[in-house]
């Protein structure tokens, strides 16, 4: 019976989701990314609500205004990415390249601001292992505004989540530079803009994850 099945000619391909392969592949990849970030965010939720003690209040350890600005920057980059996509669909190469370049700059700036944020947090004494003794934040621990018992899991979950997100942004920026270089050589047109749409999907997903992260890590 198995032999008979092998002898059959292959069935005609189903139209599937009605999209080209690269886009379908990106959506499947993003599905796996949802599970990846669920593991990180889920662990954070479980650690936080299962923690025996209180967690530091929002804004006590982390710098919310700087991160709110960074959130704004990432949202702007998402808009410029979608404008780049719209421009290439409309066949406007000039605008396409301009918007794409702006997206790259905004994305790289996001990583830059995050590096600035990390540097300051570490300087203030917020480490993945908790609060460094004798640091500026240690005074808050002694004053009781930052609970020492949960500082270690707070630090490790914070750096893991935002670090992996930052890594995704970095990968996105590198990929967009690749797309930009191809665009300079005229690699995309109104009839074939696959690379632009696919990297756009990835980029918006990274923005979407940040929207969730910003809320649950910085504001809650």
């Amino acid at each position: 019976m198995a032999h008979a099945a092998v002898m059959e000619p292959p069935a005609a391909a189903e139209p599937g989701a009605g999209v080209y392969n690269e886009k379908l592949g990106m959506w499947v990849f993003l599905g796996s990314e949802v599970m990846f970030f669920t593991a990180l965010i889920g662990s954070y939720i479980i650690l936080r609500f299962g923690a025996p003690g209180e967690w530091a209040r929002p804004g006590v350890v982390l710098n919310v205004p700087v991160t709110a600005f960074n959130t704004f920057l990432l949202i702007c980059s998402s808009v410029s990415m979608v404008k780049a996509y719209a421009a290439v669909v409309d066949g406007d190469q000039q605008k396409f390249k301009m918007w794409l370049l702006l997206t790259i700059i905004a994305g790289a700036s996001f990583v830059g601001v995050q590096a600035y944020e990390y540097t300051h947090l570490v300087h203030d004494g917020f480490l993945p292992s908790g609060i460094r003794e004798g640091s500026e934040l240690w005074e808050k621990v002694e004053a009781g505004t930052v609970p020492a018992a949960t500082a270690g899991i707070y630090g490790s979950s914070f750096y893991i989540m935002t670090g992996f997100h930052g890594f995704h942004v970095t990968c996105g920026v590198v990929s967009m530079i690749w797309v930009y270089l191809k665009a300079l050589r005229g690699g995309y047109s109104a009839t074939d803009y696959r690379g632009v749409e696919v990297i756009g999907l990835y980029w918006h997903f990274v923005d979407l994850v940040w929207i969730i992260l910003f809320t649950i890590v910085y504001l809650v």
């Binding site: 989701a17 999209v19 379908l24 959506w27 669920t38 299962g50 919310v64 756009g200 923005d207 809650v220």
Partner: protein, 94 residues
């Protein structure tokens, strides 16, 4: 490839940007300025975040204009994500 020969009409992306901008400000304001009970605050913040994420998914990722099959593919991991987290929560809550 007929997939490329459609949607010349683009949604108003700048309007979505304005929405996202306003929602972010509202979110930060709700988190720091309001004195509403903590559980209600959590609910409000999660609602605002999901709203923003929904706007990005629907308009920037074009899910609003895609076929139902692709939409199903896109949202399929979400219930799985909930199951994963809820299943682990039960380990220590009940």
């Amino acid at each position: 490839m007929d997939d490329f020969a459609h949607r010349k009409q683009h949604p108003n992306y700048l309007l979505i940007w304005v929405y996202l901008f306003i929602l972010t400000i509202v979110e930060v304001a709700v988190a720091f300025l309001s004195h509403i009970p903590r559980n209600l605050l959590l609910l409000a913040l999660v609602f605002l975040a999901v709203w923003k994420a929904g706007l990005v998914g629907m308009y920037f990722m074009h899910l609003k204009f895609e076929s139902n099959r692709l939409r199903i593919l896109a949202v399929a991991p979400i219930p799985l994500a909930f199951i994963l987290v809820l299943a682990v929560i039960t380990e220590f809550r009940w």
